[in-house]
Symmetry: C2
């Protein structure tokens, strides 16, 4: 049996950038290499490997999708220059945990595709397709930054909803915690904040930076900048989270007033009412400012996920099984959140001492990861 | 003899993007195609073509660099999705004007490399090298967005200063006007505003957009946004021009707080005192805000050009030769501005009815372009 550190070292170099972070985008070479590693791990445990026609990969102990199977796993893909734990920890832990689960139990391990939305823009794309929450032809048409569609990357239009999901008895996803709220090695998730992504297109008039009088300008960079500050202020006032972390500028030249600035608003709140009010207020302020700047703003929701309350009795039960592990909510989206609308679902979190995630500095200790594996093995044995 | 419209049509499709604007970056395929066209135009007029080892291309009637030669021309390169007139109009007009200048006159036509700084970041790179204003090894090391250096693109380290420039009697660059100040078909330049580019690196701490509490964030996007608005406000208060048209974000992911936002400030003013005060005030405000955001800001001047006052008696003379053409300053940089420190230099502007430039919408009428060619022929005949 591999120890955690040994197995972790096998995948650590795959897709690692000079920044120390990872470039493991869905269906690109590093993520495909990780999928090969997944097949090898499954094979060494005599597990059956299947794909679901949506880009999701599975290893099964017992018949694939057999009634009563407990499903675990997570995702391989990263945000650009993200940490190595976000996603892969759940898959590595699943293979090590299953070694501790009695051989007669039916367990599946999943590697969901495009959880981050880092390549095709829609997070949890694989689990959304699998559960029927996402239209397959819409998914096929999603494009990455180079214009390659998800359908092209997959080599086919995804098949969409997998009805045999109804056979799954429970889902348990183990994941590194992405804040600093967890003070013990392992915790259990209560809920995922409602959250979403809104693309904001600020359009103005491209012109010469040197010769265009300030009063004649229709500069969308101003409207964008104002909106960034307004979103931050609204989030602080409402106790929500708002971030503008991605920007695209046309023509993006030093000596040209932009014709278009495109920014993405990531917003999350403890309840849907607060989230809706936050986004409405940001859009209202952006629109008002656009009127003053002579620009326009068009807002497109790219993905909006309502609050996910994980199965309460299941979370309470698992907390007890794990010796009163703390139960806590998260602001981060997960495939488990999508699956929870269809199957009794739980999440285990592994402590993140600094809370840093989506950054090369993301880290969890070996001891906490080993505690996570032990907890996952306990939970899988208990549930299966 | 070609009419303006005929010759213009020859180059109109080269490097044209779907936006209607141009992607004619220095030493890339479209600009190299335009250089081939330049050689063919020179050849059809029995002109000698030379290169100067700095990426600048010349066609000569008479011996290259012969004492008493009058030099005209402009540049082929564009900003990303820029207009077709900015630069190429001066070269096309030069070839058509020379057809009207008596055959015994010594005239040179130049195509200067990298006037926009759109590929390697330093505008007027070719004329700066030629005049000795730019160190050749520093120029060789400048990199484009793909990491290719100017030296690599050129195939050699540039040779730098060309001492035979002292033989040139006068320089006249014809250019489309880039504001709306010119109300007649042709005008004469008085001065170029002092101007420059400052790279601003806003550094913070990359983290998860969903899980990081607002109070724990060190988000450089906020400092950037504040600085964009501060620069705009300072420019309006001081009668200067300030623009942030280019942005780079790391990691540039929707669900990650950026670790770095890099913005470029383009600033220009009627005098150096105002420009210095503007930039100082923007940097002061950015630094103050960075203190509040828990971020840092580092400002690097990439190129700063002091005020250029073109040869006053020459401008007055040319205005008279052209029937009292108006004399006006510009906020746009030009190779003629760099050359004016070494050779008596003038510029002719062709009317731009909307004032739009550095945009696909940039335009001058055929009639005004023909008037420009006639004026350039008159001036070249007068000076040579």
């Amino acid at each position: 049996m591999s120890s955690f550190a040994e197995l972790w070292a096998e995948i650590a170099p795959i897709g690692r950038a000079d920044s120390g972070g990872y470039l493991r985008f869905a269906l690109t070479e590093p993520e495909l290499t990780l999928r090969d590693w997944f097949r090898a791990q499954a094979s060494s445990r005599d597990m059956t490997v299947t794909e679901d026609g949506n880009g999701n990969l599975f290893a099964w102990r017992g018949e694939p999708w057999a009634p009563g199977t407990v499903l675990t796993g997570s995702h391989f893909d990263s945000v650009p220059h993200g940490g190595g734990f976000d996603g892969p920890l759940g898959i590595v832990s699943a293979f090590l945990a299953i070694d501790e689960v009695p051989n007669d139990r039916q367990i599946g391990i999943a590697a969901f595709v495009e959880e981050e939305g880092g390549r095709f823009g829609v997070p949890c794309l694989g689990s959304r397709l699998l559960t029927g929450a996402m239209d397959p032809s819409r998914a096929a048409a999603l494009k990455d930054r180079d214009g390659i569609s998800f359908g092209e990357a997959l080599g086919a239009t995804p098949v969409g909803q997998i009805t045999r999901l109804a056979n799954i008895k429970a889902v348990v996803e183990l994941h590194i915690e992405q804040g600093i709220a967890l003070e013990t090695p392992v915790g259990v998730a209560s809920a995922i904040w409602p959250h979403g992504r809104w693309r904001m297109d600020f359009a103005g008039v491209g012109d010469h930076a040197g010769t265009t009088r300030m009063t004649d300008r229709r500069d969308p960079m101003l409207t964008f900048a104002f909106t960034v500050l307004a979103a931050n202020k609204e989030a602080r006032l409402t106790g929500a989270h708002a971030t503008v972390g991605r920007v695209q500028v046309e023509p993006n030249a030093t000596n040209a007033i932009p014709s278009l600035v495109r920014g993405w608003l990531d917003a999350r709140a403890a309840d849907s009412g607060t989230l809706d009010r936050l986004v409405d207020e940001v859009v209202r302020k952006a629109t008002e400012r656009a009127g003053r700047d002579g620009t326009t703003v068009a807002v497109t929701p790219e993905s909006v996920t309502p609050e996910v309350a994980f199965d309460g009795p299941l979370a309470t039960h698992l907390s007890k099984v794990l010796g009163d592990a703390p139960i806590l909510p998260t602001g981060a989206g997960h495939d488990a959140g999508v699956l929870s609308a269809h199957v009794p679902t739980a999440m285990l979190f592994v402590r993140n001492p600094t809370g840093v995630s989506h950054s090369p500095a993301e880290h969890a200790s070996d001891a906490d990861c080993e505690a996570g594996i032990k907890a996952l093995a306990t939970v899988l044995t208990d549930l299966s």
